[in-house]
Subunit: 301 residues, 2 copies
């Protein structure tokens, strides 16, 4: 299979480079650091072993890229309005587009704009950052779950999972709705609260009031997920997420990095859309509605 | 009647000085600026007309003060543990103690510590600040509502109201529970949110997301008040509060000033106690619980 990466940043750059290193054909779309990577290649500094791709296939315009079997989308979701035009040149009839992005409603929206395209969700559990041109710093974790949204042939999804495993990436095929909601259980409290209180995950969990608040917000998401038909999730999942977060390296989630670097925050898909879904399902999330309001206010300042 | 003022700050200093100016006998307890006021008197810079008290009765130790008929308490509620010892020398059998403080549960707590003492709540609607020694700056408003909590003789409360009116202060006798809860409808959203988002009242109301959030928090307080037996309040009161706030001078509530000047915030009586009451009455306030958690976290930083 051939791969394209749209958005060669901390996420797309990491997973695409892992595939390319083990011999997969991967075509990278770059933006600001296109010329740098053309000259110097891609560097991955990784806790699992650093490596360098001296001559990756790189592009600064998706219309010059070849159609591929799989497209990995690593764009920030604030740019998803660009996806239909970016994806168009890359599509074959059976191309699978995997949105490795945070939030809920991403596939719903893109499917409406591109009805025939096979979509999947990529849930990345990774601490990585792109701090310099052409360089991905991978600090810890790295596994990816893939949930089939509208691909008529599950075998394609399974083949991607197999390719990731061959490339040394722990990957699994998972149920789409459950996977997106479970990720939201962590993302919704921690992304916003680290911005609202300008604190890392460990500080939020060290203070009893914010620890309780994080738990309470996680339970809001779990109740909403249940109301939206995700049955395989209950309150013990929140305890597990808190335990895991306490035992990982203190962490600034992507939304905090976006805020700190004055980039737009992914409020829409991380908050607004899930809040709408929860309300429609009769299980509103008042504390996460408050967090959304605080983030929208902070974004505007 | 003779008056004592415990806590001669922006509130106690203003109301005590107004009474003293029109000839009432008022004894002021001072702390940091005792020597300054002894030498220079009290200055009130007021939108209703500035004035100076050259030789007020001032003390730096309540045990040297005479027993009085009425004690106005203008302390920050974070210091209320000091009240039993501060009040003891000032009490006659019929002395009325008026807590001009924000929050809920203040009179309950003090009554438990001082069972026989007649208590009332003073609800001050005033923008004032004490920024220099011996000087109160009164920017706008100024009226005070007095709600009888445990004074067996309502005539004493009415006499205080009459004295305030004679002194040019708009005062009214009101029902205790309704008055405390109605004030909480404004205080709970605005005090905390101006701290959490480091913004004045006008900024919070200018952004649609925070305007909606303030309204939603006000409705939480109104539902809790109803659950606690305050019947004379409904959702229209929130609209009225928002309208009034929009039409007043942009304002930093006392909690924001406390936070900005690194003084302890009155989280206990403004949040923790009302949140407990609401929970016990079966009407929890999730967004205000979140706000309490954020404030406790910020206080600790």
């Amino acid at each position: 299979m051939t791969y394209a990466v749209i958005g060669t940043g901390a996420i797309g750059g990491y997973y695409g480079s892992k595939l390319a290193r083990c011999g997969q054909e991967v075509h990278f779309l770059l933006h600001s650091d296109y010329r740098y990577v053309l000259a110097h290649g891609l560097q991955v500094n990784s806790c699992d072993g650093s490596f360098h791709l001296p001559h990756p296939f790189v592009y600064n315009d998706s219309s010059t890229m070849p159609p591929c079997d799989v497209v990995l989308v690593g764009l920030k979701s604030v740019n998803n309005h660009l996806l239909p035009s970016l994806l168009k040149p890359l599509l074959k009839p059976s191309t699978l587009v995997i949105l490795i992005q945070n939030g809920l409603g991403l596939e719903d929206d893109l499917q409406k704009q591109m009805p025939g395209v096979a979509l999947a969700a990529g849930l990345a559990f990774i601490c990585s950052a792109k701090t310099e041109p052409g360089t991905v710093n991978h600090q810890c974790y790295g596994y990816i779950n893939i949930g089939n949204y509208s691909c008529p042939d599950q075998a394609i999804v399974d083949k991607v999972v197999a390719d990731f495993r061959t490339a040394g990436v722990d990957a699994n095929a998972v149920e789409y709705h459950e996977a997106r909601w479970k990720k939201a259980v962590w993302n919704m409290p921690f992304n916003g609260m680290t911005v609202a209180l300008q604190a890392q995950t460990d500080h939020l969990l060290a203070h009893p009031s914010t620890r309780q608040l994080i738990l309470s917000q996680m339970l809001e998401v779990i109740r909403a997920a249940q109301a939206c038909g995700v049955s395989n999730i209950d309150a013990t999942f929140a305890d597990k997420m808190i335990y895991n977060t306490e035992h990982m390296t203190p962490y600034s989630p992507s939304m905090k990095l976006d805020y700190d670097y004055r980039r737009p925050m992914e409020i829409d898909y991380l908050y607004t859309r899930p809040l709408q879904m929860a309300r429609q399902a009769g299980s509103p999330m008042p504390q996460l509605e408050m967090l959304e309001a605080e983030l929208l206010f902070m974004q505007q300042q």
